[in-house]
């Protein structure tokens, strides 16, 4: 059994760990509030953007001439997967969940004989993926220096993707991120952004007769690249809210576990202290008796 001193040391160390996790939880809670706010505020933009694109794409009569970002390159051979993760750890299953989702998709692609290319955004995803898929990662982007998710970062990623698409480096682009549902639940998502999936969306097919200036095609070809940045921005916002949420609940758990551990160790400490006293007493008594 560990000596009294050892136990005492362990108790102090667990207690100081508990202090750290508690502080991290508080920080995450404060950041979560902000991240959630900006995720909510960012929603109207992406929704409106989506609406306009839906209206536009329904207005396009000739699918042949539709921009490639909408209709696709006509092939499905090369898949580009953009995996959005965090730059920092200690956030529970947040990164692991995205990676798991992405990996199962990669395995499926592999089985079907499709080619895979990966862009990782956030260093944690890169760390985890490079062991197995290192040769598939064509780009690793990290925004360690930006404090909050901002649109310009998203635009940078969007531009890289569009550039690669125009060079015909891939046919289909999918982004992986965590959707924020609530503090304890984040749902890993796989969303296809190129070609844009317009069919699955529910929409009211009203007889909207829009006037377009200039014509639909031109607006669409200007709008679609923006939409990609917008979708990525949305994913980044959801991700940062999810990250803080995941960190908060992970740290909450850690604090609780540390508390339990302190209790257990304290009981053990008291017990061995008691045992030592009893032992000493017995020794004294038996020593006195033998006199």
């Amino acid at each position: 059994m560990a000596s009294l001193d050892d136990l005492k040391k362990r108790i102090t160390s667990v207690k100081s760990t508990q202090k750290i996790t508690k502080a991290m939880k508080m920080v995450a809670a404060a950041k979560l509030k902000r991240a959630q706010d900006s995720a909510e505020k960012g929603r109207p933009y992406s929704e409106k953007m989506n609406n306009i694109i839906l209206n536009l794409s329904s207005g396009i009569s000739d699918k042949e001439t539709a921009p490639k970002l909408l209709s696709g390159s006509g092939k499905e051979q090369v898949h580009l997967c953009v995996v959005l993760t965090s730059d920092r750890g200690l956030c529970g299953g947040f990164n692991a969940n995205i990676i798991k989702k992405a990996k199962s998709y990669f395995a499926k692609l592999n089985k079907e004989g499709k080619e895979l290319k990966i862009i990782t955004v956030g260093s944690k995803g890169n760390d985890q993926l490079k062991r197995v898929y290192g040769n598939k990662i064509i780009e690793n982007i990290s925004f360690k220096n930006s404090k909050n998710a901002n649109y310009f970062d998203a635009e940078k990623v969007g531009k890289i993707i569009i550039e690669k698409f125009q060079k015909e480096e891939f046919d289909i682009c999918i982004i992986f991120y965590n959707q924020f549902k609530n503090v304890i639940t984040q749902i890993p998502q796989a969303q296809q952004i190129i070609p844009l999936n317009t069919k699955s969306d529910e929409r009211n097919n009203s007889e909207d007769n829009y006037e377009f200036e200039p014509d639909e095609d031109e607006i669409l070809s200007n709008l679609l690249p923006k939409n990609i940045s917008t979708q990525i921005f949305k994913a980044m916002l959801e991700n940062s809210a999810s990250e803080q949420g995941a960190r908060m609940s992970a740290m909450d758990n850690a604090t609780r576990n540390a508390g339990e551990m302190v209790d257990k160790l304290t009981i053990e400490y008291n017990r061995s202290r008691q045992a030592a006293i009893t032992k000493e007493l017995i020794e004294i008594i038996s020593g006195a008796e033998s006199l």
Partner: protein, 130 residues
Amino acid sequence: MSDEFKIDIVNPEKSFLSKEDVNEVVVPAFEGEMGILKDHISIISFLKPGIITIQAKSGEEKYYVEDGIIEFKNDTLSILTSYILNLKDIEKNKLLELLKNAEEESNNPEISDQLKYLADQKVETLKSIN
């Protein structure tokens, strides 16, 4: 009947502005300035760098935008833009910085004609504010 309609300006970060008492909006559409009044036909267009002027009951407001898409439908004008500034709040330093960036962009020989055109527009607009 009143001649007022609703305007929503959103940027990726937040809802920038929302007003219900707008009489007229002039936007720098891609093919020239465009005035929008109530009961305009549904329209989708996109913007070039320029000034949005909003005539509302509560007064006139001007905003500088770098790009954007507008949609007018059912007497609601939605403007989506990634960069917007209220002319009132704009500071001299900020303005000069924007102007410098825009001039650099426009003097870059490698950009396409369309980008060059947009950059020139930016320069022109910024100069006119100055």
